[in-house]
């Protein structure tokens, strides 16, 4: 069993992730595309809105009903995907999955705090959900 007390403040609940989770989510008023995804394990739901210009993501909005990790990851997705080519943004979910499950490097520097989630397989889905919603909104 784990050591009581010390692990309570374990790395995945570090301040950086908590700060990301605390950022207010905002939906887009007039998106070009939207996607909603659920995580059946914990009940997280992510709604992701996009506006595209010339194949690039011009604006991204989102809404999250979910755990702290999901909210924090959604903030990173919303911040980092703007300006990316749609084809590149659509690959983020797979690359985040590789980061979590296969020891890959973070595809976005802002995802570095989430490396601490690697040992917690049951939480991978929480981090992946916003990126999967992004891919879905992009029609992938």
């Amino acid at each position: 069993m784990s050591n009581p007390g010390e692990n309570m403040t374990e790395a995945i609940y570090q301040q950086e992730i908590k700060d990301l989770a605390a950022v207010a989510a905002r939906r887009l008023d007039v998106p070009d595309a939207s996607a909603t995804l659920d995580n059946p394990l914990c009940g997280d739901t992510v709604v992701l809105d996009l506006r595209l210009t010339d194949g690039r993501i011009e604006a991204l909005g989102h809404g999250v009903k979910g755990c702290l990790l999901c909210k924090a990851a959604a903030t990173v997705a919303a911040r980092s995907a703007v300006g990316l080519e749609a084809d590149v943004a659509a690959t983020l979910a797979d690359r985040v999955s590789v980061m979590l499950k296969q020891g890959g490097e973070p595809p976005i520097p802002a995802l570095a705090p989430f490396l601490t989630v690697r040992p917690h397989k049951s939480r991978h889905g929480c981090v992946l959900l916003p990126f999967k919603a992004l891919a879905k909104a992009l029609g992938r």
Binding site: P4, G5, M8, C42, G43, G66, C67, H120
Partner: protein, 399 residues
């Protein structure tokens, strides 16, 4: 008494381990593990087919297991069908009863159902054209039985849980049996959460069919029970076909055997049934009034402790009457999944999420789910204290 019970469960002999997730999976008595291993060592054979020594032993063991279940349910052996689990039992029942349903017919379930006692009916209704309506719950998650007008002349089946896997609220089965039988409907009861807290007599309750899972009743996984009144089981068609459940077979059809074999197509989970029999025999030997008194005393302690924590709301009845020691709650500013994770780091095993009861989550306004702590006869005060202490610390991390 709890000390003696805990010694029966080898997994609990670990310092700092506090298991409060029995509503998802109860732990195994050592005797059950040994019985399963012994069966596979000495009697591993198919049942009702072979003539050799191992086959004879397997037949005897399987029949003895059925007898144990029948004893636990105050039922007859031929009223006990072994299935792959409670979900399998409820799905089989929906298919069998649903065979005769069509447009104009109605099934009454409740919003408090586990998906296993709701989705089979909803999916079948789409194919067969009957309607499924649901009884509502009050703010405590208890089924509202003040108006049972949904159970009318169109109603053919009432399918409800004996006790909620989320709120712990116990359903007044006799009241629903009266209403169902008054219009000629059958009463299907999901006993998955009730059975782990003592022997049940479904016939005396007024149920027509009753299902439960082995793994929640201190038995192995992969085994469940469907009980039905003999005369009603005899009227139902098989839903799975294969070996072991037919008599005459020709290229123009087959004649199914009588229950329970009619509903046990293929090789049944023999060793698991043997394990379940041992588990239920163990349960039958407990002093249940005393066990229940301890369980409910701990539940009171937990409810009071949760009430004393800042921003915590219990989901379910606060009164001990008509509830099980299954306690769910939400905490302001803390997602259930985060709480469950942090509690796990302190060796406290609880469940966070929607608990396979999405309609109930919606009805109770719990869009992010809730945390569930579920007690069992082996739960002690230290387990409850560890949960309350862990919550206090988790709030410091998350808020």
């Amino acid at each position: 008494m709890t000390v003696a019970i805990r010694t029966v469960f080898p997994v609990l002999d670990r310092a700092g381990f506090h298991y409060l997730d029995s509503a998802a999976m109860a732990q195994l008595p050592g005797a059950v593990m040994e019985a399963v291993a012994h069966h596979d060592l000495t009697a591993r054979a198919n049942v009702h087919r072979g003539l050799h020594e191992l086959a004879r032993r397997a037949d005897d063991a399987y029949d003895a297991a059925r007898q144990s279940v029948a004893r636990f349910l105050s039922a007859e052996m031929d009223e006990v069908v072994f299935t792959g689990g409670c979900t399998m039992a409820l799905n089989m029942l929906a298919l069998a009863l649903g065979e005769a349903l069509g447009p104009g017919d109605r099934v009454v379930a409740s919003v408090a159902e586990h998906h296993s006692n709701l989705l089979p009916w909803l999916m079948l209704a789409q194919r067969k054209g009957f309607e499924v309506v649901t009884l509502a719950v009050d703010d405590d998650g208890r089924l509202r039985l003040d108006d049972l007008s949904l159970i009318n002349e169109h109603c053919r089946v009432v399918a409800v849980t004996h006790a909620s896997n989320v709120t712990g609220a116990v359903t007044d089965i006799p009241r629903l049996a009266e209403a169902a039988h008054a219009v000629g409907a059958r009463l299907v009861v999901d006993g998955a959460q009730m059975v782990p807290h003592g022997p049940v007599n479904p016939r005396a309750l007024g149920a027509d069919f009753y299902a439960f899972a082995g793994h929640k009743a201190y038995g192995p996984t992969g085994i469940g029970v469907l009980w039905g009144r003999r005369e009603l089981l005899a009227q139902l068609p098989p839903v799975l076909w294969g070996g072991g459940m037919v008599g005459m077979v020709g290229l123009d059809g087959a004649l199914p055997l009588d229950p329970p074999q009619r509903f046990e197509a293929g090789t049944p989970p023999v060793a698991q049934a043997v394990g379940l029999g041992v588990a239920l025999d163990w349960m039958s030997g407990l002093d249940w009034p005393a066990v229940t008194a301890v369980e409910m005393s701990l539940t009171r302690h937990l409810l009071d402790g949760l009430a004393a924590l800042d921003g915590v709301r219990v989901v379910g009845p606060l009164k001990l009457e008509a509830r099980l020691p299954v306690v769910s709650f939400v905490a302001e500013g803390c997602h259930p999944h985060d709480l469950a994770h942090l509690l796990a780091e302190r060796g406290v095993a609880v469940r966070g999420g929607a608990h396979c009861a999405r309609p109930l989550m919606t009805a109770l306004g719990l869009e992010e789910g809730c945390v569930r702590a579920s007690l069992a006869p082996y739960t002690n005060r230290a387990d409850v204290e560890a949960l309350l202490d862990g919550l206090d610390l988790a709030f410091k991390v998350l808020r």
